[in-house]
Structure formats: C-alpha cells, structure tokens
C-alpha cells in the first residue's frame, strides 16, 4: 500500500448533494479526515477530506451567506469536532448535528472571528 502524496483529488459539489456524497464515501469504506473552511467570493468554501488506503479525496461545497449546511455527524460522528470549529470561527450553521456545542466549542474573545468582512465579520 504505497501512493503518491502529490496526486491531488478535488471535486466540487452542490450543498444539496453533500450528504448523499458523504454517505457514498462511508459505504465505500472511506475514513473522514478533516473539514476545512475558507472565505471565498460570495460565501464560505467548506472542504471535506476522505481517505482510503492512503488515497485522499476532497469534496468542496460553497455555502452562501445565510445558508445552512447539513451536518455529516450522522455518517461520521467525529466530524463534530470540525463542524463546531467551523461554526465558531466562520459562523456556518450545521443542521441535525449529533453533538452541537452551541457556539461554546472555542472560548473566543469575539464571535466568528474568521468570517470575512464581506459576509459581516469584523
């Protein structure tokens, strides 16, 4: 089982397709690795990474202002760490979370410090 870390797999999908795609990964035996949010023009990009036999696959959704994202904790419970982090730093709301800290995951001096100014951040 050897691979090449330089091979990069990114796929862009719609927010409505997220849960279906994540369940496919789960069924195929992928491991959820991480969730990363970034500010992009017109919203926040959320990148989900999955691994199987050291091959990494990333799927990307763009969340528009005011839009909510369905939690993937039903398929991958450990995702609660990243969803709560993303909520506290970027202000993205996740629905149907299996473990929601209600904005208290990080002790922050101000709410959503990493939300871009265009989206209402300070």
């Amino acid at each position: 089982m050897r691979c090449n870390y330089r091979v990069q797999n990114f796929e862009e999908i719609e927010t409505g397709d997220l849960i279906g795609r994540v369940r496919e990964f789960k069924t195929e035996g992928y491991r959820m690795c991480q969730i990363c949010a970034s500010n992009v023009e017109g919203g926040t990009e959320v990148l989900y990474s999955f691994d199987k036999d050291l091959e990494l696959f990333n799927i990307r959704v763009t969340v528009r202002p005011g839009e909510k994202l369905e939690s993937i904790t039903g398929a991958y419970w450990p995702a609660f760490i990243y969803e709560n982090e993303t909520h506290d730093l970027f202000g993205i709301e996740f629905t149907d979370s299996r473990l929601d800290y209600g904005g208290k995951f990080f002790r922050l001096s101000k709410p959503t410090p990493w939300l871009s100014k265009d989206e209402g951040g300070e």
């Binding site: 991480q34 990363c36 970034s38 450990p78 760490i81 990080f106 990493w114």
Partner: protein
C-alpha cells in the same frame, strides 16, 4: 445527604482543564455511576491561538517559523509538513540529500516524542524511576538535535526548497554512535515497559478500542495501529521512507498496553532508520533556489507525525501571502476515540487512558 438508595445514581465529575496529569488544558465531563465512567464529553478551545490566520499577513517563506511554534514536541514535523505543502503548490523538487536529512530529523523527532510520552505514561501510573530513566535517554536525542540543527526544541532547519543546514561526515559518525548507545538503553527500558508486572497491571485490558471502533471513529497514528489498522502516512511517498524499507508497526488488542507497545517498537524502527541514513546519505546540495511565479492554486499535504496523521492545506493567490493555510493535527482526530475508550472504564484509569492517545492540546489549539 446521600444514602444507600442513592448508590448507582449518576454523577458528573469535571476533569480538567487544570489537572496534574494534563500539561495542557482539556476538559472532560465524566458521567460516573459508582466508580465507572458511563460517558465522557470533551471540551477544548481554552487557548485557541488562531495561528492559521497569520498566513494571510506573513510571507510564505517566513510562515514556517510560525508553523514550527504550533507545538514544541512536533515542531520539526509541522515545519516539514508546511514546506512540503508549499513545495507541492509551487512544483519545487528538493535535492536528495535534503530529503534524507529531513527524514532523519523527522525520525529523531518521533524518537523524542515517543520517549516523552513513555516517560509521562510511567509518571501517570506512579512509576517515577521509569519516568526519569526514559527522559534521561530522551535527553541524548535532544542533544543530537542541538548538535545538528542548533536548537533543541525549535529547529528552524526546514525551508521551502530544502534544508538550512547540512550535516557533515564527523557529525554523522557521532549520530550513528549515539544511536547505538540509545538502542542499548532503549532495550533496557523496553523490558520494563513490556514485561514489568506493575506496568502490565495498569495497561493490559484497559481502555480498549476495537478495530471496528477505531475505523468508525477515524482514529489515526499509534492509536489506530494499536487497534490493528495498518495505516501510516510514511507510506505516502514523501521523504525517503520508500528507500529505507519502512513498514508500519501494528498491534491487535487495542488497549493501553498495545498503544504502549506500538510506540516502543516504533522507537526501535526509528533508531534503525536514523542509523541507516547516516550510512547512505548521498553527497550533493541541501537546497535549491526557489524561483518562478508566486504560489497559486491549492495543495493538500499530510504526513505521519509521532502522534498520527497531520494535514497541511495551503491555498495561494499569486502573492507572497497565502490565502488560506490550514493545519489539522492528530489529537483533533483521536479525541472521539478517547471518548469511546473512556466509556466503561474505572475512574482511576482515566488519566492513563487519556495519556495513551498522547494528546497534544498545543497542536490542537493551533
């Protein structure tokens, strides 16, 4: 006042964020029934530093100094992960000698991290002399870091395009000699950690994480391998592990003892790799000039830190500043597994179980 009828009722005991066993703040709400833990709910985020955000205002070559300061134990690996990600983004190929040196320092980093963990674990179950012996041996590795990089904790030796310092022939001989001595001392420590009755009493059958649970909870590093999962990012083609004949160490039982054994065996493996590098290190430059356009696009990099898989995501925008830099550390990924290990354990075993995931809150609160 509680009476006999109240026995068996559940109590919530707060554990941390300040606790003698925890060098860094993490909190657990332990739901206890008599002396058994029924449920554990973790809380982190007491000291989140927001270091990732600094990438937007620091130039990409100097950001490595920030990344190395995420943690004093995984310092070298963080620097290595970051520069490899930027090199992937810019299409930079580092010279072979630099790649070997990076592999050597990364394995030295694993040795000192595992020894630190072994000492702390011995301390957690009250075996103070074992703790001190382990850290005495670890000191020799720290001195080797000092000798070769000029720093014991923060090395600042990785740069985009290679490494900042070369290691000469005399120094390589000294490393090889030190490794042989450390191996002898490690063998003595191994006997105690793996065979001593008092150690076994505290570790065997405690905090079991089955292979199915480890997969379900996306465990990484020695935690996953001790549960029987053959998963190690040193097989992903980075550095020179392919040339060194590396194969992951795995366990079976998934208990605290298996996690200890995996780390002990990895120590020997890392010592072998460091010694081998001292004899096969090729001649040549240790860095290449980084030219061409400023970083654009994105690159997802991961490597095997001593505690497990770590992620380094970089996104460039054609300027000297990265648009986004993300680090995901192994402890992030092992907290759910720790919660599962704690379910059903005795309250007295909680500190040992927490330690066996080798939690690094400094990394987690990057």
């Amino acid at each position: 006042m509680r009476g006999v009828n109240d026995l068996g009722k559940r109590t919530v005991i707060p554990f941390g964020p300040q606790h003698p066993i925890l060098p860094e703040p993490v909190h657990l709400d332990l739901v206890i029934e008599d002396e058994k833990v029924i449920e554990a709910i973790p809380s982190i985020g007491f000291i989140h530093r927001g270091l990732e955000k600094l990438a937007e205002v620091r130039e990409y070559p100097e950001m490595v100094y920030v990344i190395e300061r995420i943690c004093g134990i995984c310092s070298f690996g963080h620097g290595l992960g970051y520069v490899t990600a930027v090199e992937g983004l810019m299409g930079v190929e580092v010279p072979e000698r630099a790649d070997y040196l990076r592999t050597m320092w990364h394995e030295m980093s694993r040795i000192h991290s595992h020894m630190l963990w072994l000492g702390l674990t011995a301390d957690s179950f009250g075996f103070e002399s074992l703790f001190m012996h382990t850290w005495k041996v670890r000191e020799r590795i720290m001195n080797m870091f000092d000798l070769t990089t000029g720093g014991r904790v923060i090395h600042s030796v990785c740069k985009v395009g290679g490494v900042r310092k070369d290691v000469g022939g005399e120094m390589l001989e000294r490393i090889a000699s030190e490794v042989r001595d450390i191996r002898k001392e490690t063998k003595e420590l191994t006997k105690v950690f793996l065979n001593d009755t008092s150690v076994k009493n505290r570790l065997c059958g405690v905090g079991i994480l089955s292979e199915d649970d480890a997969r379900d909870l996306c465990a990484v590093g020695p935690v996953a391998r001790a549960s029987g999962i053959n998963q190690d990012l040193r097989l992903n083609g980075m550095c020179k592990y392919g040339e060194l004949g590396f194969e992951p160490v795995t366990g079976k039982s998934g208990d605290c003892y298996a996690r200890c054994k995996v780390r002990i065996l990895e120590l020997g493996q890392s010592l072998d790799m460091v010694e081998k590098i001292t004899s096969v290190l090729p001649d040549g430059p240790v860095e290449v000039p980084v030219k061409g356009p400023l970083p654009t696009g994105e690159f997802m990099m991961r490597l095997e830190q001593p505690r497990g898989e770590a992620f380094y995501y970089v996104k460039g925008n054609g300027t000297k500043h990265l648009e986004r830099m993300r680090v995901r550390t192994p402890t992030n990924m092992n907290l759910p597994s720790m919660v599962r290990m704690l379910q059903g354990c005795d309250l007295a075993d909680v500190p040992v179980i927490i330690l066996t995931i080798d939690p690094c809150i400094s990394c987690t609160e990057r």
